[in-house]
Protein backbone atom coordinates (compact mmCIF):
# COMPACT_ATOMS: atom_id res chain seq x y z
CA UNK A 1 0.00 0.00 0.00
CA UNK A 2 1.26 3.47 -0.79
CA UNK A 3 1.24 6.09 1.90
CA UNK A 4 -1.47 8.69 1.55
CA UNK A 5 -0.61 12.39 1.54
CA UNK A 6 -2.19 14.48 4.30
CA UNK A 7 -4.73 15.98 1.93
CA UNK A 8 -5.67 12.57 0.50
CA UNK A 9 -6.09 11.27 4.05
CA UNK A 10 -8.33 14.14 5.04
CA UNK A 11 -10.48 13.83 1.93
CA UNK A 12 -10.80 10.09 2.52
CA UNK A 13 -11.80 10.75 6.12
CA UNK A 14 -14.50 13.25 5.18
CA UNK A 15 -15.93 11.05 2.45
CA UNK A 16 -15.89 8.18 4.96
CA UNK A 17 -17.81 10.23 7.52
CA UNK A 18 -20.48 11.15 4.97
CA UNK A 19 -20.80 7.53 3.82
CA UNK A 20 -21.12 6.36 7.41
CA UNK A 21 -23.87 8.91 8.00
CA UNK A 22 -25.55 7.69 4.82
CA UNK A 23 -25.47 4.10 6.04
CA UNK A 24 -26.95 5.15 9.38
CA UNK A 25 -30.12 6.13 7.53
CA UNK A 26 -30.97 2.43 7.22
CA UNK A 27 -29.10 1.15 10.27
CA UNK A 28 -30.49 3.42 12.97
CA UNK A 29 -33.76 2.81 14.82
CA UNK A 30 -36.45 5.38 14.09
CA UNK A 31 -35.94 7.48 17.21
CA UNK A 32 -32.21 7.88 16.76
CA UNK A 33 -32.52 8.60 13.06
CA UNK A 34 -34.88 11.45 13.96
CA UNK A 35 -32.38 12.77 16.50
CA UNK A 36 -29.52 12.53 14.04
CA UNK A 37 -31.45 14.40 11.31
CA UNK A 38 -31.93 17.24 13.78
CA UNK A 39 -28.29 17.06 14.86
CA UNK A 40 -27.12 17.28 11.25
CA UNK A 41 -29.08 20.47 10.66
CA UNK A 42 -27.87 22.00 13.92
CA UNK A 43 -24.32 20.89 13.08
CA UNK A 44 -24.61 23.02 9.93
CA UNK A 45 -25.54 25.91 12.21
CA UNK A 46 -22.43 25.12 14.29
CA UNK A 47 -20.28 24.93 11.16
CA UNK A 48 -21.49 28.37 10.16
CA UNK A 49 -20.64 29.67 13.60
CA UNK A 50 -17.25 27.99 13.40
CA UNK A 51 -16.34 30.04 10.30
CA UNK A 52 -16.65 33.28 12.26
CA UNK A 53 -15.58 32.07 15.69
CA UNK A 54 -13.20 29.19 15.03
CA UNK A 55 -11.39 30.33 11.91
CA UNK A 56 -11.63 34.11 12.15
CA UNK A 57 -11.63 34.43 15.94
CA UNK A 58 -14.80 36.54 16.08
CA UNK A 59 -16.61 35.68 19.29
CA UNK A 60 -20.19 36.52 18.39
CA UNK A 61 -22.97 36.13 20.93
CA UNK A 62 -25.70 36.80 18.40
CA UNK A 63 -25.65 34.05 15.82
CA UNK A 64 -29.17 32.96 16.76
CA UNK A 65 -30.36 35.89 14.62
CA UNK A 66 -28.83 34.42 11.47
CA UNK A 67 -30.30 30.97 12.13
CA UNK A 68 -33.63 32.58 12.94
CA UNK A 69 -33.49 34.81 9.86
CA UNK A 70 -33.25 31.67 7.74
CA UNK A 71 -35.93 29.98 9.80
CA UNK A 72 -38.40 32.86 9.49
CA UNK A 73 -37.45 33.71 5.93
CA UNK A 74 -38.43 30.21 4.88
CA UNK A 75 -41.19 29.60 7.45
CA UNK A 76 -43.18 32.81 7.08
CA UNK A 77 -43.23 32.68 3.30
CA UNK A 78 -44.46 29.08 3.35
CA UNK A 79 -47.02 29.76 6.06
CA UNK A 80 -48.45 33.12 5.05
CA UNK A 81 -47.68 33.42 1.34
CA UNK A 82 -48.01 29.70 0.61
CA UNK A 83 -44.75 29.71 -1.31
CA UNK A 84 -43.26 26.41 -2.30
CA UNK A 85 -40.14 25.15 -0.57
CA UNK A 86 -37.47 26.24 -3.09
CA UNK A 87 -38.27 29.97 -3.16
CA UNK A 88 -39.01 29.92 0.56
CA UNK A 89 -35.62 28.36 1.26
CA UNK A 90 -33.96 30.94 -0.97
CA UNK A 91 -35.76 33.70 0.93
CA UNK A 92 -34.29 32.34 4.15
CA UNK A 93 -30.80 32.43 2.66
CA UNK A 94 -31.22 35.98 1.38
CA UNK A 95 -32.62 37.15 4.73
CA UNK A 96 -29.72 35.68 6.70
CA UNK A 97 -27.06 36.92 4.29
CA UNK A 98 -28.46 40.45 4.15
CA UNK A 99 -28.75 40.58 7.92
CA UNK A 100 -25.16 39.33 8.30
CA UNK A 101 -23.96 42.00 5.90
CA UNK A 102 -25.60 44.81 7.86
CA UNK A 103 -24.77 43.48 11.33
CA UNK A 104 -21.21 42.61 10.26
CA UNK A 105 -20.65 46.02 8.75
CA UNK A 106 -21.66 47.72 12.00
CA UNK A 107 -20.41 45.23 14.60
CA UNK A 108 -16.96 44.76 13.03
CA UNK A 109 -16.12 48.33 13.91
CA UNK A 110 -15.64 46.92 17.39
CA UNK A 111 -13.48 44.08 18.68
CA UNK A 112 -13.31 41.77 21.68
CA UNK A 113 -15.84 42.32 24.43
CA UNK A 114 -17.51 45.19 22.58
CA UNK A 115 -18.06 42.90 19.59
CA UNK A 116 -19.70 40.32 21.88
CA UNK A 117 -22.01 42.94 23.35
CA UNK A 118 -22.93 44.50 20.00
CA UNK A 119 -23.78 41.14 18.41
CA UNK A 120 -25.74 40.20 21.52
CA UNK A 121 -27.75 43.42 21.30
CA UNK A 122 -28.52 42.95 17.62
CA UNK A 123 -29.72 39.42 18.29
CA UNK A 124 -31.85 40.65 21.16
CA UNK A 125 -33.46 43.25 18.89
CA UNK A 126 -34.15 40.48 16.37
CA UNK A 127 -35.68 38.29 19.06
CA UNK A 128 -37.90 41.08 20.36
CA UNK A 129 -38.96 41.86 16.80
CA UNK A 130 -40.20 38.29 16.36
CA UNK A 131 -42.24 38.77 19.55
CA UNK A 132 -43.49 42.20 18.52
CA UNK A 133 -44.98 40.79 15.32
CA UNK A 134 -46.79 38.06 17.22
CA UNK A 135 -49.72 38.38 14.82
CA UNK A 136 -47.54 36.85 12.11
CA UNK A 137 -45.07 34.77 14.11
CA UNK A 138 -47.18 33.64 17.09
CA UNK A 139 -44.10 34.36 19.22
CA UNK A 140 -42.84 31.57 21.48
CA UNK A 141 -45.76 29.34 20.62
CA UNK A 142 -44.69 29.50 16.99
CA UNK A 143 -46.13 28.27 13.73
CA UNK A 144 -46.50 24.72 12.50
CA UNK A 145 -46.04 24.47 8.76
CA UNK A 146 -48.66 22.27 7.09
CA UNK A 147 -47.30 18.93 5.89
CA UNK A 148 -48.76 19.47 2.45
CA UNK A 149 -46.56 22.52 1.97
CA UNK A 150 -43.36 20.73 2.93
CA UNK A 151 -42.60 19.07 -0.38
CA UNK A 152 -39.60 19.69 -2.56
CA UNK A 153 -40.44 19.75 -6.25
CA UNK A 154 -37.93 18.39 -8.78
CA UNK A 155 -38.24 18.06 -12.54
CA UNK A 156 -38.57 14.30 -11.98
CA UNK A 157 -41.06 14.36 -9.12
CA UNK A 158 -41.44 15.53 -5.53
CA UNK A 159 -39.73 14.77 -2.22
CA UNK A 160 -41.92 14.67 0.84
CA UNK A 161 -39.86 16.37 3.53
CA UNK A 162 -41.95 15.07 6.42
CA UNK A 163 -41.03 11.50 5.52
CA UNK A 164 -38.33 10.47 8.08
CA UNK A 165 -35.96 8.90 5.57
CA UNK A 166 -36.24 11.75 3.04
CA UNK A 167 -35.83 14.27 5.79
CA UNK A 168 -32.69 12.54 7.01
CA UNK A 169 -31.20 12.39 3.52
CA UNK A 170 -31.94 16.04 2.76
CA UNK A 171 -30.37 17.06 6.08
CA UNK A 172 -27.35 14.92 5.23
CA UNK A 173 -27.07 16.45 1.75
CA UNK A 174 -26.97 19.95 3.22
CA UNK A 175 -24.48 18.84 5.85
CA UNK A 176 -22.21 17.21 3.28
CA UNK A 177 -22.29 20.29 1.08
CA UNK A 178 -21.34 22.64 3.91
CA UNK A 179 -18.68 20.19 5.11
CA UNK A 180 -17.13 20.16 1.64
CA UNK A 181 -17.20 23.97 1.47
CA UNK A 182 -15.54 24.24 4.91
CA UNK A 183 -12.87 21.72 3.97
CA UNK A 184 -12.16 23.58 0.75
CA UNK A 185 -12.07 26.95 2.52
CA UNK A 186 -9.76 25.75 5.27
CA UNK A 187 -7.09 25.00 2.66
CA UNK A 188 -7.81 27.91 0.30
CA UNK A 189 -5.94 31.25 0.50
CA UNK A 190 -9.08 32.91 1.90
CA UNK A 191 -9.31 30.44 4.79
CA UNK A 192 -5.63 30.77 5.58
CA UNK A 193 -5.99 34.55 5.60
CA UNK A 194 -8.84 34.29 8.12
CA UNK A 195 -6.78 32.11 10.45
CA UNK A 196 -3.85 34.52 10.15
CA UNK A 197 -6.14 37.45 10.99
CA UNK A 198 -7.25 35.55 14.07
CA UNK A 199 -3.62 34.97 15.03
CA UNK A 200 -2.20 38.46 14.39
CA UNK A 201 -4.45 41.09 12.88
CA UNK A 202 -1.92 43.93 12.90
CA UNK A 203 0.68 41.82 11.11
CA UNK A 204 -1.88 40.88 8.43
CA UNK A 205 -2.72 44.53 7.84
CA UNK A 206 0.98 45.25 7.39
CA UNK A 207 1.20 42.43 4.87
CA UNK A 208 -1.29 44.34 2.77
CA UNK A 209 -4.49 42.49 3.64
CA UNK A 210 -7.75 44.38 4.02
CA UNK A 211 -8.60 42.99 7.45
CA UNK A 212 -12.07 44.55 7.65
CA UNK A 213 -13.14 43.22 4.24
CA UNK A 214 -11.90 39.73 5.08
CA UNK A 215 -13.69 39.71 8.41
CA UNK A 216 -16.87 41.00 6.79
CA UNK A 217 -16.71 38.26 4.15
CA UNK A 218 -16.29 35.74 6.94
CA UNK A 219 -19.32 37.03 8.86
CA UNK A 220 -21.47 37.09 5.71
CA UNK A 221 -20.49 33.54 4.78
CA UNK A 222 -21.06 32.46 8.36
CA UNK A 223 -24.49 34.13 8.33
CA UNK A 224 -25.36 32.45 5.04
CA UNK A 225 -24.51 28.98 6.38
CA UNK A 226 -26.40 29.58 9.63
CA UNK A 227 -29.40 30.83 7.66
CA UNK A 228 -29.25 27.71 5.48
CA UNK A 229 -29.47 25.64 8.67
CA UNK A 230 -32.41 27.71 9.91
CA UNK A 231 -34.28 27.55 6.60
CA UNK A 232 -33.68 23.79 6.41
CA UNK A 233 -34.93 23.39 9.96
CA UNK A 234 -38.18 25.17 9.10
CA UNK A 235 -39.03 23.08 6.07
CA UNK A 236 -37.71 19.75 7.43
CA UNK A 237 -39.23 19.87 10.91
CA UNK A 238 -42.14 22.16 10.14
CA UNK A 239 -41.84 24.35 13.20
CA UNK A 240 -40.90 28.03 13.41
CA UNK A 241 -40.81 29.78 16.78
CA UNK A 242 -39.20 32.70 18.60
CA UNK A 243 -37.31 30.33 20.89
CA UNK A 244 -34.78 29.83 18.11
CA UNK A 245 -33.99 33.54 18.10
CA UNK A 246 -33.44 33.67 21.87
CA UNK A 247 -30.09 33.99 23.59
CA UNK A 248 -29.63 30.27 24.27
CA UNK A 249 -29.48 29.63 20.52
CA UNK A 250 -26.58 32.06 20.34
CA UNK A 251 -24.77 30.29 23.18
CA UNK A 252 -25.42 26.72 21.96
CA UNK A 253 -23.36 26.89 18.74
CA UNK A 254 -20.50 28.38 20.75
CA UNK A 255 -20.72 25.44 23.15
CA UNK A 256 -20.97 22.87 20.35
CA UNK A 257 -17.94 24.32 18.58
CA UNK A 258 -15.89 24.55 21.78
CA UNK A 259 -16.69 20.97 22.74
CA UNK A 260 -16.08 19.60 19.24
CA UNK A 261 -13.03 21.72 18.45
CA UNK A 262 -12.87 25.27 17.10
CA UNK A 263 -11.39 25.69 13.63
CA UNK A 264 -11.72 22.00 12.81
CA UNK A 265 -13.95 20.77 10.00
CA UNK A 266 -15.55 17.90 11.93
CA UNK A 267 -15.60 19.51 15.38
CA UNK A 268 -19.02 21.14 14.95
CA UNK A 269 -20.66 17.79 14.15
CA UNK A 270 -18.87 16.02 17.00
CA UNK A 271 -19.76 18.74 19.49
CA UNK A 272 -23.41 18.95 18.46
CA UNK A 273 -23.85 15.18 18.52
CA UNK A 274 -22.06 14.81 21.82
CA UNK A 275 -24.04 17.54 23.59
CA UNK A 276 -27.33 16.27 22.20
CA UNK A 277 -26.80 12.77 23.52
CA UNK A 278 -25.35 13.89 26.85
CA UNK A 279 -28.47 15.98 27.48
CA UNK A 280 -30.75 13.26 26.13
CA UNK A 281 -29.19 10.50 28.24
CA UNK A 282 -28.85 12.59 31.38
CA UNK A 283 -32.45 13.77 31.29
CA UNK A 284 -33.76 10.24 30.95
CA UNK A 285 -32.09 9.29 34.25
CA UNK A 286 -32.44 12.36 36.39
CA UNK A 287 -34.33 15.63 36.58
CA UNK A 288 -31.07 17.30 37.62
CA UNK A 289 -29.70 16.68 34.13
CA UNK A 290 -28.15 20.14 33.83
CA UNK A 291 -25.84 19.22 36.72
CA UNK A 292 -24.68 16.13 34.82
CA UNK A 293 -24.23 18.18 31.64
CA UNK A 294 -22.14 20.69 33.56
CA UNK A 295 -19.92 17.96 35.00
CA UNK A 296 -19.46 16.36 31.58
CA UNK A 297 -18.50 19.73 30.10
CA UNK A 298 -15.90 20.29 32.79
CA UNK A 299 -14.53 16.82 32.05
CA UNK A 300 -14.31 17.55 28.33
CA UNK A 301 -12.52 20.83 28.89
CA UNK A 302 -10.07 19.18 31.31
CA UNK A 303 -9.16 16.31 29.01
CA UNK A 304 -9.78 17.99 25.66
CA UNK A 305 -8.80 21.62 26.20
CA UNK A 306 -9.00 22.35 22.47
CA UNK A 307 -12.26 20.49 22.00
CA UNK A 308 -12.48 16.87 20.95
CA UNK A 309 -11.30 17.14 17.33
CA UNK A 310 -8.91 19.98 18.17
CA UNK A 311 -7.15 17.94 20.85
CA UNK A 312 -7.03 14.81 18.70
CA UNK A 313 -5.36 16.91 16.01
CA UNK A 314 -2.86 18.38 18.44
CA UNK A 315 -1.88 15.08 20.07
CA UNK A 316 -2.24 12.42 17.42
CA UNK A 317 -3.34 13.46 13.95
CA UNK A 318 -1.62 16.67 12.86
CA UNK A 319 -3.04 16.35 9.34
CA UNK A 320 -6.64 16.64 10.58
CA UNK A 321 -8.12 19.75 8.95
Amino acid sequence: MTRLSPSAKSIALHVGVVLLLLALNVLLPEYHRGVLARVLVLAVFAMGYNLAFGYTGLLSLGHAMFFAAGLYGAGLTVYHLEWSVWPAFATGLVAGTALALVVGFLALRTTGVAFMIVTLMFAQVFYLTTLYFTTYTRGEEGLVLPQAARVLAFPGGVLNLSDPSTRYLVALALFALVLAVTLFLARAPFGRSLVAIRENEERMRMLGYDVFANKLASVVLSGLVCAAAGAAYAVLFGYVGSGFAAIQYSILPLLWVLVGGAATTLGPLIGTLFMFYVIDTASSYTTAHLLVVGLVLIGVILFFPKGIAGTVRERWLPWLP
Binding site: P189, R192, S193, V195, A196, E199, N200, E202, R203, M204, R205, M206, L207, G208, Y209, D210, V211
Partner: protein
Protein backbone atom coordinates in the same frame (compact mmCIF):
# COMPACT_ATOMS: atom_id res chain seq x y z
CA UNK B 1 22.19 65.97 -11.86
CA UNK B 2 18.66 66.05 -13.19
CA UNK B 3 15.98 66.46 -10.57
CA UNK B 4 14.72 62.92 -10.17
CA UNK B 5 11.65 63.05 -7.98
CA UNK B 6 12.27 61.19 -4.71
CA UNK B 7 10.50 57.97 -3.80
CA UNK B 8 9.26 59.35 -0.50
CA UNK B 9 8.58 62.90 0.67
CA UNK B 10 7.00 64.09 3.89
CA UNK B 11 5.98 67.70 4.36
CA UNK B 12 5.42 69.31 7.75
CA UNK B 13 4.39 65.94 9.12
CA UNK B 14 2.98 66.06 12.65
CA UNK B 15 1.54 63.61 15.11
CA UNK B 16 0.55 64.50 18.64
CA UNK B 17 -0.45 62.12 21.42
CA UNK B 18 -2.46 64.36 23.72
CA UNK B 19 -0.08 67.22 24.49
CA UNK B 20 3.01 65.32 23.36
CA UNK B 21 4.29 66.16 19.89
CA UNK B 22 5.82 62.80 19.01
CA UNK B 23 6.49 63.92 15.44
CA UNK B 24 6.70 67.66 15.02
CA UNK B 25 6.81 69.21 11.56
CA UNK B 26 9.12 66.78 9.80
CA UNK B 27 10.20 67.56 6.21
CA UNK B 28 11.93 64.53 4.83
CA UNK B 29 12.87 63.29 1.41
CA UNK B 30 14.25 59.92 0.38
CA UNK B 31 15.64 59.23 -3.12
CA UNK B 32 14.92 55.89 -4.72
CA UNK B 33 17.61 53.30 -4.08
CA UNK B 34 19.10 54.92 -1.01
CA UNK B 35 19.77 53.11 2.25
CA UNK B 36 18.94 55.67 4.89
CA UNK B 37 19.28 55.37 8.65
CA UNK B 38 17.26 57.20 11.28
CA UNK B 39 18.91 57.48 14.67
CA UNK B 40 18.02 59.30 17.84
CA UNK B 41 17.51 58.76 21.56
CA UNK B 42 14.64 56.69 22.98
CA UNK B 43 11.34 58.44 22.56
CA UNK B 44 12.65 60.71 19.80
CA UNK B 45 9.69 59.77 17.59
CA UNK B 46 11.42 57.43 15.14
CA UNK B 47 8.86 54.63 15.30
CA UNK B 48 6.02 57.13 15.20
CA UNK B 49 7.55 58.82 12.15
CA UNK B 50 7.86 55.61 10.12
CA UNK B 51 4.41 54.51 11.34
CA UNK B 52 3.01 57.65 9.72
CA UNK B 53 4.77 56.66 6.50
CA UNK B 54 3.47 53.09 6.44
CA UNK B 55 0.01 54.01 7.70
CA UNK B 56 -0.16 52.28 11.06
CA UNK B 57 -0.81 55.71 12.57
CA UNK B 58 -2.66 58.61 10.98
CA UNK B 59 -1.02 62.04 11.06
CA UNK B 60 -2.42 64.99 12.97
CA UNK B 61 -1.39 67.12 10.01
CA UNK B 62 1.03 67.22 7.11
CA UNK B 63 1.49 65.05 4.08
CA UNK B 64 3.22 61.87 2.95
CA UNK B 65 3.93 61.48 -0.74
CA UNK B 66 5.06 58.08 -1.98
CA UNK B 67 6.07 57.68 -5.59
CA UNK B 68 4.39 60.97 -6.48
CA UNK B 69 1.11 60.04 -4.82
CA UNK B 70 -0.34 61.58 -1.67
CA UNK B 71 -0.85 58.61 0.68
CA UNK B 72 -1.34 60.15 4.10
CA UNK B 73 -5.07 59.25 4.15
CA UNK B 74 -4.63 55.88 2.50
CA UNK B 75 -5.27 52.86 4.76
CA UNK B 76 -2.18 50.89 5.72
CA UNK B 77 -2.99 47.77 3.72
CA UNK B 78 -3.20 49.79 0.51
CA UNK B 79 0.13 51.47 1.18
CA UNK B 80 1.68 48.04 1.61
CA UNK B 81 0.30 47.08 -1.78
CA UNK B 82 1.69 50.30 -3.20
CA UNK B 83 5.13 49.07 -2.12
CA UNK B 84 5.81 50.12 1.48
CA UNK B 85 6.74 47.24 3.80
CA UNK B 86 7.29 47.61 7.53
CA UNK B 87 8.93 45.27 10.01
CA UNK B 88 7.85 45.85 13.57
CA UNK B 89 10.12 47.10 16.33
CA UNK B 90 8.48 44.55 18.62
CA UNK B 91 8.69 41.21 16.86
CA UNK B 92 5.35 40.36 15.33
CA UNK B 93 5.13 37.02 13.59
CA UNK B 94 2.37 34.40 13.44
CA UNK B 95 3.65 32.46 16.43
CA UNK B 96 1.45 29.39 15.89
CA UNK B 97 2.24 28.94 12.20
CA UNK B 98 5.37 27.48 10.66
CA UNK B 99 8.10 29.77 9.38
CA UNK B 100 7.14 28.83 5.83
CA UNK B 101 3.45 29.59 6.40
CA UNK B 102 4.42 33.00 7.80
CA UNK B 103 6.25 33.89 4.63
CA UNK B 104 3.61 32.22 2.45
CA UNK B 105 1.04 34.73 3.69
CA UNK B 106 3.23 37.53 2.37
CA UNK B 107 3.86 35.71 -0.90
CA UNK B 108 0.14 34.97 -1.33
CA UNK B 109 -0.60 38.68 -0.99
CA UNK B 110 2.12 39.56 -3.45
CA UNK B 111 0.93 36.98 -5.97
CA UNK B 112 -2.65 38.21 -5.73
CA UNK B 113 -1.47 41.78 -6.38
CA UNK B 114 0.82 40.82 -9.21
CA UNK B 115 -2.17 38.99 -10.73
CA UNK B 116 0.31 36.25 -11.31
CA UNK B 117 -1.21 33.43 -13.28
CA UNK B 118 0.65 31.09 -10.98
CA UNK B 119 -1.33 31.52 -7.80
CA UNK B 120 -0.46 27.93 -7.35
CA UNK B 121 1.04 25.96 -4.52
CA UNK B 122 4.15 25.75 -6.67
CA UNK B 123 4.66 29.50 -6.99
CA UNK B 124 3.91 29.86 -3.29
CA UNK B 125 6.55 27.31 -2.36
CA UNK B 126 9.12 28.76 -4.73
CA UNK B 127 8.82 32.40 -3.69
CA UNK B 128 8.38 31.48 -0.02
CA UNK B 129 11.54 29.38 0.10
CA UNK B 130 13.41 32.05 -1.86
CA UNK B 131 12.62 34.66 0.81
CA UNK B 132 13.52 32.27 3.65
CA UNK B 133 16.73 31.40 1.85
CA UNK B 134 17.77 35.05 1.56
CA UNK B 135 17.67 35.50 5.31
CA UNK B 136 19.23 32.08 5.93
CA UNK B 137 16.15 30.40 7.41
CA UNK B 138 15.51 27.84 4.68
CA UNK B 139 16.54 25.08 7.06
CA UNK B 140 13.88 26.17 9.54
CA UNK B 141 10.93 26.32 7.13
CA UNK B 142 8.86 23.70 8.95
CA UNK B 143 9.50 24.94 12.46
CA UNK B 144 6.75 26.71 14.38
CA UNK B 145 7.63 30.41 14.34
CA UNK B 146 6.98 30.83 18.06
CA UNK B 147 9.63 28.20 18.81
CA UNK B 148 12.36 29.92 16.79
CA UNK B 149 15.07 31.82 18.65
CA UNK B 150 14.52 35.55 19.02
CA UNK B 151 17.14 36.35 16.39
CA UNK B 152 15.53 33.97 13.93
CA UNK B 153 12.11 35.49 14.54
CA UNK B 154 13.54 38.89 13.64
CA UNK B 155 14.98 37.44 10.47
CA UNK B 156 11.63 35.83 9.70
CA UNK B 157 10.05 39.28 9.89
CA UNK B 158 12.57 40.55 7.39
CA UNK B 159 11.82 37.58 5.13
CA UNK B 160 8.11 38.47 5.23
CA UNK B 161 8.97 42.03 4.29
CA UNK B 162 11.15 40.80 1.42
CA UNK B 163 8.48 38.42 0.16
CA UNK B 164 6.25 41.43 -0.44
CA UNK B 165 8.84 42.65 -2.96
CA UNK B 166 8.56 46.21 -1.63
CA UNK B 167 10.00 49.36 -3.16
CA UNK B 168 10.55 50.81 0.29
CA UNK B 169 11.48 48.50 3.16
CA UNK B 170 11.27 50.02 6.63
CA UNK B 171 13.25 48.17 9.29
CA UNK B 172 12.56 49.25 12.87
CA UNK B 173 15.54 48.31 15.07
CA UNK B 174 16.08 45.00 13.33
CA UNK B 175 19.29 44.10 15.17
CA UNK B 176 17.87 44.59 18.65
CA UNK B 177 18.55 41.39 20.58
CA UNK B 178 20.76 39.80 17.93
CA UNK B 179 24.16 38.32 18.78
CA UNK B 180 27.32 39.85 17.27
CA UNK B 181 27.61 37.05 14.75
CA UNK B 182 23.99 37.48 13.73
CA UNK B 183 24.54 41.21 13.35
CA UNK B 184 27.40 40.66 10.91
CA UNK B 185 25.22 38.43 8.77
CA UNK B 186 22.46 40.94 9.00
CA UNK B 187 24.64 43.73 7.65
CA UNK B 188 25.40 41.56 4.63
CA UNK B 189 21.71 40.86 4.17
CA UNK B 190 20.67 44.52 4.23
CA UNK B 191 23.42 45.39 1.75
CA UNK B 192 21.95 42.82 -0.59
CA UNK B 193 18.41 44.11 -0.07
CA UNK B 194 19.69 47.64 -0.67
CA UNK B 195 20.67 46.73 -4.22
CA UNK B 196 17.02 46.20 -5.17
CA UNK B 197 15.00 48.31 -2.76
CA UNK B 198 15.10 51.59 -0.92
CA UNK B 199 15.74 50.93 2.76
CA UNK B 200 14.77 53.08 5.71
CA UNK B 201 16.51 51.74 8.79
CA UNK B 202 15.95 52.75 12.40
CA UNK B 203 18.93 51.58 14.39
CA UNK B 204 20.62 52.19 17.72
CA UNK B 205 23.75 50.20 16.95
CA UNK B 206 26.12 52.79 15.44
CA UNK B 207 28.38 50.14 13.89
CA UNK B 208 25.44 48.88 11.87
CA UNK B 209 24.44 52.41 10.92
CA UNK B 210 27.94 53.37 9.81
CA UNK B 211 28.33 50.14 7.85
CA UNK B 212 25.07 50.49 5.93
CA UNK B 213 23.76 54.03 5.70
CA UNK B 214 24.41 56.27 2.73
CA UNK B 215 22.75 59.10 4.59
CA UNK B 216 21.63 59.52 8.18
CA UNK B 217 18.83 61.49 9.80
CA UNK B 218 19.07 62.28 13.49
CA UNK B 219 15.79 62.82 15.32
CA UNK B 220 15.24 64.38 18.69
CA UNK B 221 11.95 65.27 20.37
CA UNK B 222 9.97 64.76 17.23
CA UNK B 223 12.16 66.95 15.03
CA UNK B 224 15.02 66.44 12.66
CA UNK B 225 18.20 67.55 14.41
CA UNK B 226 20.63 66.86 11.60
CA UNK B 227 20.85 65.10 8.29
CA UNK B 228 23.77 64.10 6.08
CA UNK B 229 26.39 61.57 5.11
CA UNK B 230 27.81 59.38 7.92
CA UNK B 231 31.03 61.39 8.12
CA UNK B 232 29.09 64.67 8.44
CA UNK B 233 26.91 63.27 11.18
CA UNK B 234 29.90 61.99 13.09
CA UNK B 235 31.48 65.44 12.91
CA UNK B 236 28.31 67.32 13.83
CA UNK B 237 28.62 68.92 17.25
CA UNK B 238 24.94 69.21 18.01
CA UNK B 239 24.52 65.52 17.30
CA UNK B 240 27.43 64.61 19.50
CA UNK B 241 25.97 66.56 22.37
CA UNK B 242 22.45 65.30 21.98
CA UNK B 243 23.05 61.74 21.11
CA UNK B 244 26.52 60.41 20.69
CA UNK B 245 27.34 61.46 24.21
CA UNK B 246 29.85 64.22 23.40
Amino acid sequence: MAAVSPLLVTRDLCRAFGGLRAVDGVDFSLPEGETHAIIGPNGAGKTTFVSLICGRITPTSGSVVFDGREVSRMPAHRRVRAGIAYTFQITSVFANLTAFDNVALAVQRQLIDARAGGRTAHALAEHGMEALDKVGLAGHADKIAGNLSYGHQRLLEVAMGLALKPRLLILDEPTQGLSDGEIDNFIGLVRQIGEEATVLLIEHNMDVVMALAERITVMEQGRILAQGAPAEIRANEAVQQAYLGG
